[in-house]
Symmetry: C2
Subunit: 313 residues, 2 copies
């Protein structure tokens, strides 16, 4: 029996990781987050707590074999003007986590890093061996945490899997903070509002369905805990925002009103992540196509929107 | 007139930078440190303060064109077990510095980074374009600060020169904290104590005389402040600790008793820094040879030791 702790199990990626692990009888999963979910599955143990509180972390990590650290308390755009908050709310809690995990004899920590920011301004197709040169506070602290996981390995013998995730989208993303281009665009379409693009729409991104993220990250549980690795998690399909909007138009058949606004300094012009390594580690795995993913998310949002409208009435 | 602030002007590198700048009439230097030095040069303005106090930083940076940030409040061996201290005492104060410098319109920040730790475990001859993969908290936070200087450039338009310094030695190094192999060895020889080597003595290092460090770093003041650069600062001469001890024996003519102790996890086996870039930026500059540097430091320590003995009598 492998004992798995998921920090951030209520979050967008956390819920999909839990779904990917749920069928597995050899795995005992403990969730961790600020709020106990109301739809708690019978098999799931849940610890209510905050990653900034060292005591609640210490409780949660007891007797665990492997920990997924999926909590980020900031988003790239908010970090741009307040780098100190990333230090306080992401870096320092992670140092506490490493210390607690070491004391508790945890074997592996899996970390949700950021493929879009840790490499910095490099327009090539990026592999995990490429230079990391982040310039945004969000990306810098993600990269710093990666380095501290290497420290945890050298100092405490805890292994790690670092997942540098590109842009996740799909059912259930909370876009109120300004994160998630596809979901935000689709929500705007469903609600008859224009789609906002910061910059000229020529920025190139890679989008991956969050179900794929959950399933790909689940592999760490099924491998031995005796090695450390870094993986890009992407769909290997780079599209400009303008191309993406055309694709959305085609898939949804909806009319599209686009509003271009001034670009943001913290936005990276072009990020393309080579996913060969993670695909090699998940042989036979087939990714959800961007077309299917957009269609599914759109249909889901349309349904929830009708539901919201009905419930308002 | 260029206005230069040196944070850490009382320190080992700070004093040598001040010496290198002292002859220059076009430069107005302000020192900054915890204690006002007793031998304050008439031309030097000094601000007493602590880098952890945002107010004293804010005072010091007013009206400055260029700032040297030479303060480190930790050393690699102490950081190994307490990474949080590096975050609190080095990273957060530097974020405050960046903010104050941006508000004050400072044009450039020069940072004393660590050639021995930011690259991580890479035994090649390292250029500034090589991958940085630090694993010690000391090196991780140095590298994180480097990245935040890139952020300061993108966000605030402040340029930087990052100096990745190898192992400095020479007159006036404080070895009480456990830093400085050459100076510690020479002090032990002068005082008739055995020289301590952690590990088998096969670790390879590059040593540079602190006068060279001061003079090479002074170049930032004499260049335009409109570009940002990263430089290795080394002598391009890699020696094992055992080779170094043979050289010390030859140069000093002293009997040498060596005590080998267990190696330290945070020590890097081999670090060699290519200094081509900084030498190209200082055309015609000639480095002090390791032999001359050791001889000079030894003679200085012998004299101070006699002086100490006399003053005790």
């Amino acid at each position: 029996m492998k004992r798995v702790l998921v920090l951030g199990s209520n979050g967008f990626i956390g819920r999909n990781l839990l779904a990917a692990l749920s069928g597995d009888r050899d795995v005992a999963v403990t969730g961790f987050g600020r709020k106990t979910p109301t739809d708690l599955n019978g098999n799931l143990r849940f610890v209510q707590g905050c990653i900034e509180n060292p005591d609640s972390l210490e409780d949660a990590v007891q007797d665990q074999d492997i920990i997924y650290h999926l909590i980020s308390q900031t988003i790239p755009s908010s970090s741009w003007n307040e780098p100190e908050i990333d230090v306080e709310k992401n870096l320092i809690p992670t140092l506490n986590l490493i210390r607690s995990a070491a004391d508790a004899g945890v074997k592996k920590i899996c970390f949700a890093s950021s493929g879009g920011t840790v490499y910095g301004l490099n327009p090539s197709l990026l592999t995990e061996r490429d230079i990391t040169d982040p310039f945004s506070p969000y990306g810098i602290i993600k990269r710093t945490i990666e380095s501290f996981l290497e420290y945890a390995r050298e100092r405490h013998g805890i292994n790690y899997d670092i997942y540098r995730i590109s842009n996740a989208y799909g059912e259930g993303q909370d876009v109120t903070g300004g994160l998630g281009f596809i979901n935000t665009a689709l929500e705007n379409i469903v609600n008859g509002r224009p789609v906002v693009v910061y910059g000229d729409g020529l920025s190139v991104r890679d989008f991956i369905h969050v179900k794929d993220v959950g399933r790909l990250l689940a592999r760490s549980v099924h491998t031995d805990f005796d090695r450390s690795d870094v993986f890009n998690v992407s769909a290997n399909r780079a599209v400009s925002l303008n191309e993406l909007l055309q694709l959305i138009k085609k898939v949804t058949g909806a009319d599209l009103e686009v509003e271009y606004r001034e670009g943001r300094l913290n936005d990276n012009k072009k990020v393309m992540l080579d996913n060969s390594k993670i695909m090699l580690a998940n042989p036979g795995y087939s990714l959800i196509s961007l077309e299917d993913g957009i269609r599914e998310t759109y249909n889901y949002l349309k349904k929830s929107s009708i539901y919201v409208e009905k419930s308002i009435r």
